[in-house]
Symmetry: C2
Subunit: 77 residues, 2 copies
DNA sequence: GCAGCCTATCCCAAAATGGGATAATCCGAA
DNA sequence: TTCGGATTATCCCATTTTGGGATAGGCTGC
């Protein structure tokens, strides 16, 4: 795992994405499908193996049917 | 430039960051200093030569003294 | 234990990054 | 217009990250 992805903020970020996906009752496979990517893509960003850039993040929150700002606000500082 | 960074949304994203920095009267060097990074870092993400992940984005908006959500909302779809 | 679903990991060629150094541009003053 | 400092873009290239199909590993209920 890239070490830049080990910060506490990143950890919280990932935890949010994961719990949000589960709360929506979606599998990695289903999210992957919405994103037009393989399941390994979702597994990797959720596992911190790969980072999400800003535009990708918006795509993911759209797939999760969620407001991106809500996630960001929980990461402030 | 990585081709993943050529989408219209990304272009708008970059344009926002740049105009925001200028509006605040800051140079790349000054932003870089706040971020604890070299000027080339700022030059690269502004130029689309490098992507910003979500946490880095928050750092940048903090350096620009700006609300990240405002930028995101202008990128929706 | 087995079946089925879900998630993590492998592999490694290809692509992206880091950052100091340096080139190129911009811009106001003389 | 020319000069010079300030600002931004580009070089270089070793190191790090990524892409994604295949496959291993886990978990749950039966």
């Amino acid at each position: 795992m890239p070490k830049s992805l080990r910060s506490p903020r990143h950890q919280r970020f990932l935890a949010q994405l994961i719990s949000l996906r589960k709360a929506k009752g979606l599998t990695q496979e289903q999210v992957a499908e919405k994103l037009g990517r393989p399941q390994s893509f979702v597994a990797k960003y959720e596992g911190g193996e790969r980072r999400l850039d800003v535009v990708e993040f918006l795509d993911v929150t759209a797939a999760l049917d969620t407001d991106p700002c809500e996630i960001l606000s929980s990461l402030q500082l």
